[in-house]
Structure formats: structure tokens, C-alpha cells
Symmetry: C2
Subunit: 169 residues, 2 copies
């Protein structure tokens, strides 16, 4: 069916463009979109052909997606090639992205804040105290957010929705 191909191509293209906003590269986002909507696992060559990209590019981004945990390698009996298959469950995807963002964005921030707070803790001037207080406020908040993110990720989807709805709905 031609209409499906068209809708899927659009999804892949747009999701790729979005990836850029997100700070992940276009190809990676496109491959992810492609695999999320693939009826079966795909090979590197199929991905290359579909997206019209080089082997190196396909390879690098497939492995990066594997490292994130958003796709996985599947081996088929009688096949030497690797096949790739995306995690399709939205809650799973969410928790993976949350974990990865935490690792790359939250944890380094916490480290910096803790270090700067520590280094300024014994400065006696008013400016020094203000700086220390600001670092601590940021550190406390980011630490709290980080903990919340973990807690939420560890819930089952249904429970998370129920909880959220009850509280805020």
C-alpha cells in the first residue's frame, strides 16, 4: 500500500528533523523512527537503502541506538547478518530516554554544582555566601529531580498513569 509508505516516510523525515532540536543527530532519530515502525527487524543494508545513507553512518548510529537500549540486535538462525529491532513500548522508550538524559545531563550538572558548592563553602564574604547558597539551591533541586526521575521510571506504566491522574487530573 502506497499510502502507508508515504505516511511512514513522512514520520521518518520529520522525526529526524525533530531529533536535531533534541540534541541527538538526525540520522540516529531517523533510524529510530524507521525501526519503530518496521514490521520486522531490519539489516544494516536495508536501513542504508531506505534512508539513502552510507554504511559507516548507518553502522555508527545503529550501534549508538543499541548503546542507548532503544534498539536491539537480533540474530536469526541460518543468517550471518545482524538484524535490528526497536523497542516499541512507549513506557519503555520513555524510561530509556529518561535514564540516558539523566546520565548525560543531570549527573554531570550535579557533579559541577557539588564541586562549586564545596569550593565556596568556606568563603566568608557576603558574595561568597550568596554564591554558595545559589549552588546549594541548584544542587538540591537537581538532586531532587534526579531522584524523582528514577522513582517514576521504576513504576509500571499503568500505575504511573493512575497515580498521575489521581493527583493532578
Amino acid at each position: 500500500m502506497e499510502k502507508l509508505k508515504q505516511a511512514r516516510d513522512e514520520f521518518v523525515a520529520q522525526w529526524g528533523a525533530l531529533g536535531t532540536q533534541w540534541g541527538i543527530n538526525r540520522t540516529m532519530a531517523q533510524i529510530h523512527a524507521l525501526l519503530m515502525t518496521a514490521p520486522q527487524a531490519m539489516t544494516t543494508d536495508e536501513v542504508m537503502e531506505d534512508l539513502e545513507i552510507s554504511r559507516g553512518n548507518a553502522h555508527t548510529n545503529l550501534k549508538e541506538l543499541v548503546a542507548w537500549g532503544l534498539i536491539k540486535v537480533v540474530v536469526k538462525k541460518g543468517e550471518r547478518r545482524e538484524f535490528f529491532e526497536a523497542e516499541k513500548d512507549v513506557w519503555q522508550i520513555f524510561t530509556i530516554v529518561a535514564r540516558e538524559r539523566k546520565r548525560r545531563e543531570i549527573e554531570p550538572a550535579l557533579a559541577i554544582l557539588a564541586k562549586c558548592a564545596e569550593e565556596s563553602s568556606d568563603i566568608q564574604t557576603p558574595e561568597g555566601k550568596a554564591f554558595y547558597d545559589q549552588m546549594r539551591a541548584l544542587e538540591d533541586f537537581v538532586g531532587f529531580a534526579s531522584k524523582m526521575s528514577d522513582r517514576i521510571s521504576s513504576l509500571k506504566y499503568g500505575f504511573a498513569v493512575q497515580l498521575a491522574t489521581k493527583l493532578l487530573g
Copy 2:
């Protein structure tokens, strides 16, 4: 006090590096860090000198931060120059960043998902149905997350912490 300057410089430099990971540019993150830890509002020239950047760069990023709402222009009587001052409250900063991310990341994603779901809603093949279901699942989830983000942002900080702690602590 030299020690303070050192700690603050480190904070500015590291926060700038982090900005990159975050998908916002280094200068913007550095200016934000600088102003968040500034005892008073600063002028464009002070920012330029402190960070050793050009006027154009300082100007562009100061205005971008104003557009986000993370800093504001303050006018001082008897002064023709504009001064800039950062929002220092962590909960305010969080809600601003959440709003902006929603606008740039969540809303465009929702639009794409809705469009692709719509376009594929009447395809009768199994592949077509699977695609439609996947689009809908993503759309529902992202829409839900978006709503939650709004609800949380609209709370007072103390109440948010209390709620989160009670539920998940």
C-alpha cells in the same frame, strides 16, 4: 576574594560545556551561569569582557535568554545602557525550561504524530493498522506527558516537593 572568582569561573565554564549536551549553545549557557551568580545586574559590555566574547555574540545570546524568560532587562535611572539580571529561583528556572522544552520538543512531536496517525487511520492492511496503532500510542503518551508537565509547572514549589515526597518518598 580570589577563591570566589575561581569557583565562579569554573561554574561558568562547566555550565557552558554542559549547555552543549543540552542542545543549547555554549555562550548562552555561560551567560546564564554568569548572571545567575552575579551580585548585581550586568551590562552587555561587562558580559563581553568577562567571557571574552564579541558584542554580537553577547547581544544575540542575551536577547535569546530574555526571550526564554531566564533573564530580564532592567533599566536604571540615569543610565542609558540596559542591564541584565537572571531569575535565580530554582523552581522558576525549572518551569521556564520545562515550558520552553515543551514548546520546542513536545509540541512539534505531537503535531507530527497526530498528522501521521490521521493519514494512516483508514489503511486496512495489517501493516497499516500496526503503523496507526504505534502512532496513536506515541501520540497518547506524549500528549499525556505534556499535560503532566503543565500541571506540575503550575504548582508552587513547596507543594510540588510535598506531593512528590509523599507519593514516592
